[in-house]
Amino acid sequence: MKLLKISAILISMMLLSLPANAKYKFSVLTQVDTSNTFWQGIKRGMDDACETLDVDCQLVFNQENGNLQMQLTNLEALVEQGIDGISLVIVEDNMFDEAVQKAIDAGIPVITTNVDDSEGAAGNARLAFVGQDLFQAGYELGKELSKQFPDGDTHVLLGLSAPGQSWAEARIGGVRKFMEEYKAANPNKKVTWDTIDSGLDTSVTGQRICAYVQGHPETTAYFDAGFWGAGAGNCLRDLGYKKNEFLMGMFDLVDIVMDEMDEGYVHLTIDQQPYLQGYLPILQMYLMKEFGLSAWDVNTGKAFVYPSDVSVVRKYIEMGVR
């Protein structure tokens, strides 16, 4: 009985914490769960846009990280509910086609954020994409970091954080594409690379990179599909690597990446500006509903961040907006 009373109080508190009736109700759907640090930046952008525009927003995290069926079920429920606008991540090309089309047919604007159908507008009925061109970003990461490759042969390790997931495959695919071009452009150098399942945990990824590097000391550089590679800084120091002796390039701005940039073990990261990925879809959907304007694509992410930029971007990271 006590348990029932406590449950009733908790449910009442949760219901009372919901915002008052707003003019529009928008939802953002992701495939990740709440513990994803990167998505907290998107949430901050969404929250700020919703507060500014006075609309009711909900970010629907998955209970289970990466469970796409769960995300699809949430999407279908929202479409049935007749929500005013939906922003979502599409990490699988076919699964969401029907549900998105149904939403569009029902007059619900749908904008993809963070990750889009790999065929873009040709592959899905969504109206616009706000996010990073993942393949291009990977290519640019490789190209930019290659400017620091030392003379002589080049052997690179590619960290495919989540094999089979389109965002990771696209980014590492972009780096690989650049390495192929780099090899062709440098016929006098021996250029090779290996790809590993580097994992989605800072500690695990760090250990795997160090295990590889100590076994293959000829390795020049490491590219990570996310930010987890920054976890290698610690064990690289243990292995006796000096600052800037081993190059690392990755994505996103999180504390550990900034710390390792300060230490001299991460040399380049690409900021895809998650705040904008949360803010802009809400703004666009609001403008569409309020003034009948159309949606537009936004490439939020090719911003290179170097160690010299750390002090500048750190204050924005602390604010949760970068």
């Binding site: 769960d33 709440t34 513990s35 994803n36 640090t37 907290q40 949430k43 901050r44 209970q63 990280n65 495919l160 094999p163 089979g164 290996d194 790809t195 590993i196 399942d197 580097s198 989605l200 945990d201 800072t202 500690s203 695990v204 760090g206 250990q207 795997r208 160090c210 295990a211 590889y212 100590q214 076994g215 293959h216 976890g231 610690n234 064990c235 243990d238 292995l239 999180v254 504390d255 550990i256 710390d259 949760g320």
Partner: protein
């Protein structure tokens, strides 16, 4: 000549198969990869080993008592987040902050125990619920952005380097020795085995099985929380996804190390060997340049092989006993 009794005794040890596979792989990898058996590689393996082994140790003891905890991965995140919030945002002394962080872990363990035992809910379900709740707590109390680890925080006593080792390995050895002593040499250890093997019979013998299981739940959570604090001190960062998926890894380590999902079987040494085995498998896959897409398959296959061997050796030991009886 080794007597049948000695062979039987050896094969009956829960950690025997894991130890045999470990030695086999150690020899195999040593000859197949000249970069495997060197101090630098073992320095890499041992850097994360204490954290994983502490969680596996807690899980193993809980499994011996006949229960199970899926929430350890989330507790692994909650403790360091609580600790770091207290240190950074409330400027509390780091020792007090760590103790409160561990207290938070202990509370989660106690809630797991009460829900599981008092409400007679299978621990699989109760701790599955806690897995989600604790992860959510980690995100909520940190607002999604846990504070940074202060640069001047004294961490040497926990993760400092002593030659090729980190201090955390000595913490692990100390804790494992205590756990081993408790399991093998004390009444409480006997109660844990008895409770796991046959709770009804244990109760009839006057053992307070609630207290035994609750202690194991709390210990399991404290060890997971402590391991999380070690990791956050080592990598000098706290993120809300810390320890995600760790529960399966810890359970795999415990099972490979010989712990039974049915309760009543397992050892502290087995937890350490099981974790080490999985760590070197992971390591050799990287060194061998196994294609990224095959990585999980290889790890999974080796886990299954280890568990099958466990069963085979146990059956062999049972048969030896039957022959002796004849």
């Amino acid at each position: 000549m080794i007597s049948k009794n000695k062979i039987k005794s050896l094969l009956s040890r829960p950690e025997f198969s894991a130890l045999a596979i470990f030695l086999f792989l150690l020899i195999l990898f040593t000859f197949s990869n000249d970069r495997f058996l060197n101090s630098r590689n073992f320095m890499v393996i041992l850097s994360t080993y204490p954290e994983l082994a502490l969680v596996a140790l807690g899980i193993t003891i809980l499994m011996i008592s006949g229960e199970f905890d899926l929430s350890v991965g989330s507790v692994f995140a909650v403790s360091p987040i609580v600790t770091m919030i207290l240190i950074s945002d409330h400027e509390l002394h780091y020792v007090a902050s760590i103790l409160i962080g561990l207290l938070a872990a202990a509370s989660i363990g106690f809630i797991n125990a009460v829900v599981t035992i008092k409400f007679k809910i299978p621990s699989f379900i109760a701790t599955l619920g806690m897995l989600f709740m604790a992860r959510s707590i980690a995100v909520v109390i940190s607002g999604g952005f846990p504070p940074s680890v202060p640069k001047d925080l004294p961490t040497e006593w926990l993760v400092g380097r002593v030659d090729m080792f980190r201090v955390s390995i000595f913490w692990l050895i100390g804790i494992a020795l205590i756990c081993n002593y408790v399991l093998k040499k004390t009444n409480f250890g006997n109660w844990i085995f008895a409770t796991g093997e046959n709770p009804k019979a244990a109760q009839d013998l006057g053992i307070n099985t609630f207290k035994v299981k609750a202690t194991c739940f709390v210990l399991c959570s404290i060890l997971a929380g402590f391991a999380g604090i070690i990791q956050s001190f080592r990598i000098k960062t706290v993120i809300t996804s810390l320890g995600q998926g760790l529960e399966l890894q810890a359970i795999a380590s415990a099972v490979v190390g010989g712990a039974s999902l049915m309760g009543g079987i397992g050892s502290a040494f087995g937890a350490l060997i099981g974790t080490l085995l999985l760590s070197i498998i992971d390591n050799i896959l990287i060194l061998s340049r196994v294609d990224g897409n095959w990585f999980k398959f290889a790890v999974g296959a080796l886990i299954v092989i280890a568990v099958i061997l466990n069963t085979v050796t146990k059956n062999t030991a049972d048969k030896i006993r039957l022959k002796d009886d004849e």
